[in-house]
Symmetry: C2
Subunit: 358 residues, 2 copies
Amino acid sequence: MEPVRVNLGPRSYDIRFAGDLGSFADFVRLSVPRAKLALVVADTHTERHATTVRDALESVGLRTGMAVVPSGESSKSLAEFGKLLDALADLPADRQTAVVAVGGGVVGDLAGFAAAAYNRGLPLVMVPTTLLSMVDSSVGGKTGINHAKGKNLIGAFHQPAGVWIDPAFLGTLPDREFRSGLAEVVKYGVIQDAEFFAWQEANAAAILARDLEAVRYLVAKSCRLKADVVEQDEREETGLRAILNYGHTFAHAFETVGGYGAWLHGEAVAAGMVCASRLAEKLGRIPADVTERQVKLLTAFGLPLHPKAEWPIEPMIDVMRRDKKAAAGRLRFVLPTRMGHVELVDGVPEDLVREVLC
Amino acid sequence: MEPVRVNLGPRSYDIRFAGDLGSFADFVRLSVPRAKLALVVADTHTERHATTVRDALESVGLRTGMAVVPSGESSKSLAEFGKLLDALADLPADRQTAVVAVGGGVVGDLAGFAAAAYNRGLPLVMVPTTLLSMVDSSVGGKTGINHAKGKNLIGAFHQPAGVWIDPAFLGTLPDREFRSGLAEVVKYGVIQDAEFFAWQEANAAAILARDLEAVRYLVAKSCRLKADVVEQDEREETGLRAILNYGHTFAHAFETVGGYGAWLHGEAVAAGMVCASRLAEKLGRIPADVTERQVKLLTAFGLPLHPKAEWPIEPMIDVMRRDKKAAAGRLRFVLPTRMGHVELVDGVPEDLVREVLC
C-alpha cells in the first residue's frame, strides 16, 4: 500500500503502513533523521507494543527513555502533561529528540502536546494502536489535553514528522474500541465521500470481522480523506477543517456531561452524528433518509444513537455554547446537506437543539 | 512615531506607540476586531496599569475578566499556567476572546502561552510595561514557562495580534529594572547594528536619564531590529533567529544555577554577552576592543560583567548542554565576528567555556 502523503509545505509527512517496503526502523530514520534520543510514550495498555517500538529505535542507534501513563481519558490532564515534560527534561532532550507516541488518541494527544510545548516543538512520531487513532487523531496535528470545562480545551497544532500504522495492532483491540473507531470512518463518508459511505454499507460484515484487506482499505481511505481537509485548512482558519467536527459538538457535550470515560469517543460521535443529522432535518436541510442510512450503519456497527436518558439537557447546551466553534455564545453546527457533503451552520436555535437531545 | 510593522504574512501585526494618532481603545478595535470578551492578565506590580487597560477595553464594549499573578519569575510555572486556563474557562472564553497581557516579560510569556494553548490559540494583545518587555519579549511570538531544569523550556510560538507600547509606564519602573532592559538594547547593537551601538555609547547619559525622545527612539529601533530577524526566521528554523540569543546561553545557565530571581534577566544577559565575547576572543574571532566597548557600555549602564563567584561552574555547563541550541550535548554559542555581526558557532570546547566563567 502506498504511503499517504500529507502535503503541508515544510511540515509535510507520510503515513506509512507496516507490511509495505521498509521496516519501522527505516521509517524512523526517514522521519526523524537527526534524532539521537527518543522518548517513547505509552499507556498501561500499550506498554508491550511500546517495548517493541523501543527495541526497534535502539536497533538503529537511538538512546530511548520510556514514559507510561495510566490508560484512559483522565490522563489527558495538566498533571500528566507535566510528568512528560519532566521525563523529557530528565533525558535530557535536545531540539532533535523525538517523542514517539505508541497508543490510542489519549497517548497521541497528550504526548503530542508535550512534544509541541517542550523547547517549543520536538519532532513527533505517531504509532497509533487503535482504529480511532489510526483513522483520526494521529493525522492532522491536533494535540491537547482536557479541562474540567471542556474536552481538548488546551493544546496546540503540532504536525507529526511521520505516522506509522500497523494494522496488526488491531488484532488485540477490544471489540468495543474497534466499533468506536468505526464512528469516525462513518463520519468521513457522510462529510466527504458518499461512495465511501456506500462501500461501508456494502462491506459492513467484512469490516466487523476485521478482514485485513477491508481494514487496510478503510484506514488508508480515511487517512486520505482527513489529509485532504487538513491540507486545505491546517489550523482551522478557513472554516473548512471544521467539517471534521461533524457530530463532535454534540459528542463533546455528551463526554463532558456524562463524564470522560462513560462513553468511548467514537460512541459519543456516533450519537452526536445522529443528533446533528436530525437537527439538519428539522432545519429542512436534508430528507429523512440521509439520517436513516447513518442510523442503519451505526446500528450495524453496534454504536449508540442517542445520549443517555439520565444526562441533563441544559448542562449539555452550556458545553456547546463554550465549544471552540461557538462564537460569543451563538450555537454553530456542522450539518449535512446531502450524503457526502456538510456545511457549517450558524445561529442554530437552542430549542431545536433541545428537541434532538430528547 | 510610525508603528513598527512585523511582516509575517497572515500573522502580521503592528507595534504601536501611545501618544501617536489613535487611542488604546482604537488600537484594540483594530487588533482584535472580533473580540467580545477579554481576559486582562497582570501581576501584583502592574495591577494598576491593568485597571486602566480594562476600563479602556470596557469603554469599547468588551466584557472583561482579570487575572493577577504574583510578580516575579516564579509565576512562569505550570501551576500559574493552569490558573490562567481556569480563568479563561470561567469567562467562558470563545475562539475570539482576547488575552491582554499587561506587564513585563513574566506576564507576557505566561499569558502568551495560555493564549497559545487555550482552544489551540486565542488572539493575544501585548501591553509591555517594562523596558525589557518593550524591546524584547513582547515582540516575536515566543511564549512560555520555566521548568526546574531550564528557563523557557516549555512554551509555544504564538504571535500577538498587536503590541501597544506606552513609554509613560517606564516612569514608575525601578532603576534596576530599567537598566536590566538596556542589556537587550546593547545586544541589538552588537548583533545587528554597529551604528546603533555607537548611538548608545554617545547617548548613554540621556538614556539613563530616561530622556523621553531618547527612550522612544531606543525602543522603536530595538523593536524594528528584532522584527527584522523574526520576519526572516519566525520559528527559529533557519538558524537566523538564533542570533537573538547572543549572551543568552550563558544567561540561562546563570539564571538556572543562581536560581530564578537572583538576577534580573537583563543582568544575566549582560554578563552572558561579556562571557560570549571573551569566548569569541579566545577562539580568535574578534579583537579585544569589541569586548571592551561592550564592557564599557554595560558598566555605564550599571550592569554585571561576570557570573557571581559563588556559582559552581559544572552545573552551569550542564545547563548549557541542555540549551535549546545545543545538539546532542555539543555546545553551541552565538559569537561576534565584529561589532554589529554575530554567527552561530558549533562544537565549542568546554574548557574554553570554563575559562570565561572563571
